[in-house]
């Protein structure tokens, strides 16, 4: 059982598509394999369906067609075993619980024993020392997001899904997190999916970037990030890093051009 839990799962999407009740096509039939223990970033314009794809992988949204497998099982099974964690775009902290209480909630929901030490370590990791007993209303937007990241990590999930988790986090803390978090999930062997708007962040954090087209989401580029780890903020100034960000930007504009021919023609 323990050995099984430490094995990171592969995520396989087969012809997964999503059309909402109103007729909006969010994701076009899409085939995807995310390698175990890797960090994959989904990059694309606003509203392109990245979050929908993430929610389908999390089992929170059923695909209209196609199938998803996480470590050989459907998402519902992963959910049942509480083997995955999601850090939502909105921190979604319960306002009546302190930072510590919100993090502890994840352990209780996942039916894991309360672990005060692990909680305190994570609070320190996300830079919230001294705020453990603070209610969310007294925190800044960035601090709330960091608390939500700590909550997502506390159950030591095998699959970690991050939906723009650093949106409101200030630049310095973001750089610090970009160094600390990959170290943590590498050590744990977590399969991580990161949805982000920031190309630099995607290159800094991931092993692979999937560039999505505007809605309905389709993969326009699959870029391997072969930069050595651990990575430091200074790496962003290297030629190799710049070449990768250029490639992602290029793919994003190609996706836009394909989706909106009239605009491109102007």
């Amino acid at each position: 059982m323990a050995a099984e839990r430490t094995d990171p799962p592969a995520v396989i999407c087969r012809a997964v598509a999503k059309t909402f009740a109103g007729g909006t096509e969010a994701v076009r039939p899409l085939d995807l394999r995310l390698e175990p223990g890797q960090t994959t970033a989904l990059v694309g314009p606003s509203g392109c369906g990245k979050s929908t794809l993430l929610r389908m992988i999390a089992g929170l949204e059923p695909p209209t067609s196609g199938s998803i497998e996480i470590g050989g099982a459907p998402p519902a099974e992963t959910l049942r075993r509480a083997d995955l964690s999601v850090a939502f775009q909105d921190p979604s902290l319960l306002p009546w619980r302190s930072v510590r209480g919100n993090i502890a909630l994840a352990l209780s929901l996942a039916r894991r024993p309360a672990d005060a030490r692990a909680i305190d370590e994570l609070i320190a990791l996300v830079g919230l020392e001294g705020f453990g007993d603070t209610r969310p209303a007294q925190l800044s937007g960035g601090m709330r997001q960091r608390a939500a990241i700590a909550r997502a990590l506390v159950t030591e999930p095998r699959l970690l899904l991050l939906d723009e988790p650093f949106g409101a986090v200030d630049e310095l803390t973001r750089q610090q997190l970009a160094q600390d978090l990959p170290r943590l999930w590498e050590a744990r062997g977590t399969t991580t999916v990161l949805v982000t708007h920031s190309v630099t962040e995607a290159v800094m954090l991931s092993d692979r970037i999937l560039v999505l087209s505007p809605r309905p989401a389709a993969i326009v580029a699959d870029i391997a990030i072969d930069l050595p780890r651990p990575r430091a903020p200074g790496d962003a100034r290297t030629d190799a890093f710049a070449a990768l960000t250029d490639a992602v930007h290029e793919a994003l504009s190609q996706g836009m051009a394909r989706a909106e021919p009239p605009l491109a023609a102007q």
């Binding site: 909105d90 979604s92 319960l94 929901l109 996942a110």
Partner: protein, 520 residues
């Protein structure tokens, strides 16, 4: 940013000064009107209370006991109904619909019917108190149980947990401030329900004394009873408010925010279902309690009385006349109450320095069981149209004012910052930002005020004017004309429910434009 802040001097001191001024004014007015049999001075009220402490204490104890029993039963019923709606979400429209129909039952008629069923004793008072509270708790509770962003439920589901965990970790706590807000309104309402129950021929209690005072034209006693009823209701309201602040300091955004209005076709289907369920309950209750068919009329009896009996035409004519008389008081009073409540709230935004004290006073006065002051208004304005219309308007006015003031405060701070950056005038802010932000609260109040207005008008008709549906129901109950009584109950309940639905329809239309998030 907020323009409704309290002014600088201590609000307690101000409140004390205002109360003393009001008392002095009351005393002076009463002395000026000596001989008119209208107003008893505070000194006379105190004098009566000092002369009859035992009588008052016994009556108060009796009414409080009944009100407390009804409060507990009614709120337990609300919790059970909310649980049913939550466990079985498809039934929510049905649960709230039937609950509304039962809430719209005219107390004036259910009182005598309950009296026949229970016989002597406290049964009717307790049931009426329970009936007066369960709906005002159920609605905020249903809203509160859903008052959580979807992402909180996603969080629970992302750990593979289901509805039970969502209830324990999210819904129960999110609903707490709403529940407490509902209980706060329910406390004075239970007191009111118990008093109305005592009007229907109880042996003891404040209601019995009120009827005696009114019949004997005992002005100091009438005022003393109304003063004590008001004080008790306000005390209950304030005490539960303090408890609320302790239990759930995060006050809900709207005190009586409406549940989402269904789409037109769903609305019709729900209405048909509610009608069917009401008829089934009606028949079921008669069968289950094995009620005597002499007074317990079934839906077929009422249909026969209205359509096929020999005197069906006469019954319809009597009801028609009474309905017209009631509507003539109800509509102007209701509309005047709404207009005055919303109008004053807006005026207060333009004159923020007086908003604080008025808001406190209005919140306190909202808790007054207006119906228990009916005898005073009848004394003051006579048994004609003016008194009745005023009473209905007052009954509607306070909840509307409080809801609108709350609504006006709902304006998001950033939007007011934008207005600041354009140096917009107070009037511009009111028209462009605050009134649209107020609309959901206004309509929530307007909808909830419909049964309250019907209750007010029927009670005054019964106690004072001797006209309209209230009087017809009281008269037919005392003459044991149960066919007419049940027909009047059906008519009054239908009228309440239809007016409620009509306001809800206008509300849905307005909210779709100004607050679409309230409908999702």
């Amino acid at each position: 940013m907020t323009t409704l802040a309290l002014p600088a001097p201590g609000p307690r001191l101000r409140g004390l000064v205002l109360t003393l001024l009001a008392l002095a004014g009351w005393e002076l007015a009463a002395r000026a009107l000596t001989g008119a049999f209208v107003l008893a001075a505070p000194s006379q009220v105190l004098g009566w209370l000092a002369a009859n402490p035992g009588l008052m204490a016994r009556a108060l104890r009796e009414t409080l006991t009944n009100a407390a029993a009804g409060f507990v039963l009614g709120n337990l019923a609300a919790l059970a109904l909310a649980a049913l709606a939550l466990l079985w979400p498809r039934a929510q429209a049905l649960v709230t619909g039937v609950a509304l129909v039962v809430f719209c039952l005219p107390l004036v008629a259910t009182g005598p019917i309950l009296r026949v069923i229970f016989g002597p004793g406290a049964g009717p008072q307790i049931v009426l108190a329970a009936l007066a509270v369960y709906y005002t708790t159920l609605i905020p509770l249903l809203v509160g149980l859903r008052a959580a962003p979807a992402s909180w439920f996603d969080l629970v589901h992302s750990y593979g947990r289901g509805r039970w965990s969502a209830l324990v970790h999210v819904r129960a706590r999110a609903a707490l401030p709403y529940l407490v807000a509902g209980l706060q309104i329910a406390a004075p309402a239970a007191f009111l329900g118990a008093i109305v129950g005592e009007f229907t021929g109880a042996e003891r209690g404040m209601g019995v004394l009120t009827i005696r005072a009114l019949r004997g034209l005992d002005v100091p006693m009438t005022w003393a009873l109304a003063t004590v009823a008001t004080a008790v209701a306000m005390l209950a309201y304030v005490a539960l408010g303090a408890l609320a602040r302790r239990l759930a300091p995060d006050a809900p955004p709207l005190l009586l925010s409406p549940p989402p209005a269904p789409a037109r076709r769903q609305g019709l289907r729900a209405a048909a279902l509610v009608c069917a369920a009401t008829l089934a309950l009606w028949w079921g209750a008669i069968a289950a309690f094995d009620l005597n068919p002499f007074f317990a009329k079934s839906p077929t009896d009422v249909a026969a009385a209205l359509l096929t009996d020999a005197d069906a035409g006469a019954t319809r004519a009597k009801l028609g006349v009474a309905l017209a008389e009631t509507a003539a008081f109800l509509l102007p009073g209701y509309l005047a109450g709404l207009a005055a409540g919303a109008g004053l709230a807006m005026a207060l935004v333009l004159a923020p320095q007086v908003a604080g004290p008025v808001m406190s006073a209005a919140i306190a006065l909202r808790s007054v069981p207006i119906v228990t002051t009916a005898p005073l208004i009848v004394l003051a304005l006579g048994r004609g149209a003016a008194g009745t219309v005023t009473l209905v308007a007052v009954m509607v006015f306070f909840p509307t004012l409080v809801a609108c003031l709350h609504g006006l405060r709902q304006t998001p701070g950033q939007v007011m910052d934008v207005m600041d950056s354009f140096a917009a005038t107070r009037l511009t802010r009111l028209l462009r930002v605050r009134i649209p932000a107020m609309l959901p609260a206004f309509f929530a109040a307007a909808r909830m005020a419909v049964p309250a207005a019907v209750l007010a008008v029927t009670v005054v008709e019964w106690l004072a004017t001797g006209r309209g549906l209230g009087s017809l129901m009281a008269l037919s109950a005392s003459l044991s004309d149960y066919d007419l009584l049940w027909s009047a109950v059906v008519l009054t309940t239908t009228l309440s429910a239809l007016c409620h639905a009509a306001v809800a329809r206008i509300e849905a239309r307005v909210l779709r434009r100004y607050a679409p998030e309230q409908l999702t």
